[in-house]
């Protein structure tokens, strides 16, 4: 405990540009999370709709796809793409990527990182969205049909707005998981916060490249962890507040999730929440 809070062990944080360097790494993680989030939400919705398709072949194929990708470890998927994407593709990506992109985005392995993160998260989000749509009473779709709405119209105007809104808490909890998971691209050598932490540890005590103040590993990683805790806590608080406001406005009950990991969200979503009597 003394070691942990010893001010001498925290001096590195305010010496030189260490703190700013860590923050810049963390910013890269947030950017990766944002890009993946947008892609995964899009693909996830497409997968969810395919899975609910009335064409049996389509729905079974989509179901197998989703179940395979969400049941594999994410780090496995990222590592696989890192090793399997052929070199010409990596080179092509590096040639095509605009200069104004952040440095980390210009890594030849960036494509593998985003592909892995997106495949996994879109599968998980598809399952969450499907659960939300299925949890809606059948009457809603039938009522829309009897009003003369076509399949896509009823989806767009009636089913999706309600079904997806129900799953906002589960989706946010998965996005928090995604935010944490961006650290895994570290194994592909992308310059994000875990790499930056290593660099701070390695260089801070050097009088030539650093400031001569030692940066102990425990404190450096703790600082990184606290950055994640702050952002993720803010995210979950924000979603909670939005949810309450939405409920007041629309009266749509969301499915309660205690902010658990991906499949937990789905497990709870498919089981109707127990109302306290």
């Amino acid at each position: 405990m003394g070691y942990l809070f010893d001010p001498d062990n925290w001096r590195w944080l305010f010496s030189g540009s260490n703190f700013r360097f860590l923050l810049s790494g963390f910013w890269i993680n947030l950017q990766i999370a944002l890009v993946t989030m947008v892609l995964s939400l899009g693909f996830g919705l497409v997968l969810a709709l395919l899975r609910l398709s009335k064409q049996r072949v389509v729905s079974v194929a989509a179901g197998v796809w989703v179940d395979v990708w969400r049941n594999l470890p994410l780090v496995f998927i990222i590592l696989y793409f890192g090793l399997a994407i052929p070199e010409p593709w990596r080179d092509a990506y590096q040639r095509l990527v605009p200069d104004w992109f952040p440095t980390a985005f210009q890594s030849p392995f960036f494509l593998a990182a985003v592909a892995g993160l997106t495949l996994y998260n879109s599968a998980v989000l598809a399952e969450i969205m499907r659960a939300g749509i299925v949890s809606l009473e059948k009457g809603q779709g039938e009522a829309a049909a009897s009003l003369g709405l076509r399949y896509w119209q009823s989806m767009r105007l009636v089913v999706l707005p309600q079904g997806l809104r129900r799953m906002v808490p589960a989706t946010v909890s998965q996005l928090i998981t995604l935010n944490k998971d961006t650290t895994l691209v570290f194994i592909l050598g992308i310059q994000e916060v875990m790499r930056h932490a290593r660099i701070v540890m390695a260089t801070s005590d050097s009088p030539f490249v650093g400031t001569g103040v030692e940066a102990p590993a425990l404190q450096v990683f703790l600082a990184v962890g606290i950055m994640f805790v702050i952002v993720n806590l803010a995210l979950s608080r924000l979603s909670r507040r939005l949810e309450i406001r939405e409920r007041r406005r629309t009266g749509v009950e969301t499915v309660r999730v205690a902010g658990l990991e991906d499949q937990l969200a789905v497990a709870e979503a498919t089981v109707p929440p127990v109302e306290p009597r």
């Binding site: 470890p73 496995f76 895994l184 425990l218 990683f221 806590l233 658990l260 990991e261 127990v274």
Partner: protein, 220 residues
């Protein structure tokens, strides 16, 4: 196609030992997660305010921090601080403590699902708090906690893959696959079989939980 079988036959010992190590990692970490999770979950439902707060602090910290950061702290961090814990301890403790936060939340929501009315009824009948917990709340909470706990086991199986490839703390399935790949360069074949290994674990856990759930429902 023949390559696929050849890789499996030639490197079966590596795949098998990696598979078993993953299984052990998950088993040990799950034991830790359940133990610590029950304790923290108990803190979270305590009638005393500051004890609840302490439990909440634990949950929010371990739930929002990346597992990779926890592994770095417990392995590299403690090593530099002069505290030597073995790689196996660092790995299982990180995974266990991380999941314990989720277990605690699961237990808390399971207890809350029982409903305040029942607890109040039991208290008003003169049951002491301990007996309300052991005879009214826990038997019912267990049922609603089984499916989410099963999902946590699945999440643990997937998270355990981080241990081997980042710090080489254990030679688990993914680590072994990576080693075989670095010798054979048959990436697709090697990762195919590793994926089969992981899917075997996660899907069988899914089915086991579903079966267990069905049995509990029938008994109700």
């Amino acid at each position: 196609m023949s390559d696929l079988w050849e890789v499996l036959v030639r490197h079966f010992p590596e795949f098998r030992s990696g598979f078993l190590v993953t299984l052990q990692l998950v088993a040990v970490s799950f034991a830790i997660a359940i133990g610590v999770g029950l304790f923290v979950g108990a803190l979270r439902i305590s009638p005393v305010r500051w004890i609840r707060l302490a439990g909440g602090l634990y949950v929010e910290f371990f739930r929002n921090i990346p597992l990779l950061v926890l592994l770095s702290i417990s392995y590299l961090g403690l090593l530099r601080a002069g505290i030597r814990i073995g790689p196996w301890v660092a790995a299982t403790a990180s995974l266990g403590l991380y999941t314990a936060a989720y277990v605690a939340e699961t237990i808390r929501s399971g207890v809350f699902a029982v409903g305040k009315g029942q607890i109040e009824a039991a208290l008003s009948l003169g049951f002491p708090y301990r007996r309300v917990l052991s005879q009214v709340v826990i038997p019912q909470a267990v049922r609603s906690v089984i499916p989410p706990l099963g999902s946590l086991v699945i999440a643990m199986i997937k998270n355990s893959a981080i241990i081997g490839v980042t710090f080489a703390l254990a030679d688990d399935l993914l680590k072994e696959a990576r080693l075989v790949n670095s010798r054979t360069f048959q990436t697709n074949e090697v990762f195919f079989w590793a994926a089969v290994g992981y899917l075997l674990l996660t899907l069988s856990a899914t089915f086991a939980v579903r079966a267990l759930e069905r049995r509990l429902v029938v008994r109700r």
